[in-house]
């Protein structure tokens, strides 16, 4: 087992591709995306019910080495600042397989 940082980022669905691009850019190779998420925050309610789609949230989950977490946060912070969204970090153990 290995200590990792568990980072979960909740953003507008249309942001996901650019965020993932940014993350890939700084060397994050593994990630998981949860789709079809609704919610509410500073920018009001997200109901994911617009006829054109794309009006819901997604959640990106990352498990990364603790020493990499600063770089990841530095990369996503400006995006979150500009476009809203939430980023939570906690400690977890990667059950090496």
């Amino acid at each position: 087992m290995q200590n990792v940082k568990r980072i979960e980022i909740i953003v507008d669905s249309p942001e996901v591709p650019s965020l993932l691009k940014e993350l890939t850019h700084i060397g994050v190779s593994g990630y998981t995306v949860f789709h079809n998420i609704t919610g509410s925050g500073d920018r009001g309610e997200r109901r994911n019910d617009e006829p054109g789609g794309g009006s819901g949230n997604s959640c990106i989950l990352l498990a990364i080495a603790p020493e990499k977490s600063d770089a990841v946060i530095a990369a996503i912070r400006p995006i979150l600042r500009r476009r809203g969204g939430v980023c939570l970090m906690s400690d977890a153990q990667w059950v090496v397989h």
């Binding site: 507008d12 249309p14 079809n36 054109g52 789609g53 009006s55």
Partner: protein, 322 residues
């Protein structure tokens, strides 16, 4: 205004299903059409309308009349977002003004489709090139809206990638499927048209009913939240379609469109986008509030056009054209 027009609009099943959706929401029913079914219905409608327009275009050919109509469409797609922006700036900050201007400069495909269904109920013909006009009117306002926000906005705003933006404007899913199906219809002509008719024509009205049921629910949900923005958006969303409709009617008369085409042209100018433009604005002007521009287009201008606008514009056309 002609009462039979109002009646034949209000007794049109698609409009009745739109009301039904609104009522469902108001009485607190849990009725809803879950995603991605509405997305599927919207793809279906765009594909069908594009394809049928293409088949019609194949019949009529690219005449001078068609070219003039398309030119007028582009003209309005450029003028409308500019003049509405001037009005909007009086009350809204630059980003929101630009986003709302883009919304009203573009078009609502479903309003157009409902107008087509209204015409076919009245037995009034219209040309396939009006679908091409719609396709041409979808995107320019996106470009203009973002340009306005960038030029006039604070220098610290989101840097914009114009290549991305052009792609989002001209290659977004709705515009793409519409144009693509139009080209396919024009290429395959009547033979292809007949082969697909059971899919693109026969069940079309039923699919439209289902989609408008969903639109009714979505509109009603948003009507409740509109108050937080004050009176300005409400007045704007009712008045601007009317003004644009009058300008469109004048232009349509001037360039000599037939009554059916004139109605379609008018609803294109009077309607506001709640699919393609919001999708683009979310990415290009994230500082603007979708709760504002989607609500105005979807909860006020859309029902207004569907319920009041169609018979009203048709009544004016009947009076002036005859």
């Amino acid at each position: 205004m002609d009462l039979t027009l109002i009646a034949s609009n209000l007794l049109n099943p698609p409009v009745l299903f739109f009301f039904l959706g609104m009522i469902a929401c108001f009485v607190g029913s849990d009725l809803e059409i879950p995603q991605p079914i509405p997305k599927f219905l919207s793809l279906y409608l765009l594909l069908s309308i594009g394809f049928k327009g293409g088949v019609e275009l194949h019949k009529s050919g690219l005449t001078a009349e068609v070219a003039i109509a398309l030119g007028a469409a582009i003209l309005m797609a450029i003028v409308v977002p500019l003049w509405t922006f001037l009005i909007l700036r009086k009350r809204l900050d630059i980003n929101n003004a630009a986003a709302v201007a883009a919304t009203y400069g573009s078009v609502s495909a479903v309003t157009f489709i409902a107008a087509g269904s209204f015409l076919s109920q009245l037995g009034i013909p219209s040309g396939g090139h009006m679908v091409a006009a719609m396709a041409l009117m979808e995107s320019p306002a996106i470009i203009i809206g973002v340009a306005l926000a960038r030029k006039l906005g604070s220098p610290g705003g989101t840097p914009v990638s114009w290549s991305h933006l052009l792609r989002d404007a001209f290659a977004n899913g709705s515009v793409f499927i519409l144009c693509g199906a139009l080209v396919i219809g024009a290429v395959t002509g009547e033979k292809g048209g007949k082969a697909l008719a059971p899919f693109t024509s026969d069940i079309f009205r039923g699919m439209l009913c289902l989609f408008l049921l969903d639109m009714g629910i979505l509109s009603a949900r948003r009507i409740r939240g509109i108050r937080q923005f004050g009176w300005f958006p409400v007045v704007f969303a009712l008045a601007v379609p009317l003004v644009n409709a009058i300008a469109a009617l004048a232009l349509a008369r001037f360039i000599g469109l037939g009554p059916g085409d004139a109605l379609l042209f008018t609803v294109l100018c009077a309607s506001a986008s709640y699919i393609a433009v919001p999708a683009a604005m979310r990415l290009a002007i994230p500082e603007a509030n979708p709760g504002l521009y989607v609500t105005m287009a979807l909860a006020i201008s859309f029902p207004f056009n569907i319920i009041v606008g169609l018979p009203l514009y048709m009544a004016i056309i009947n009076r002036i054209w005859s």
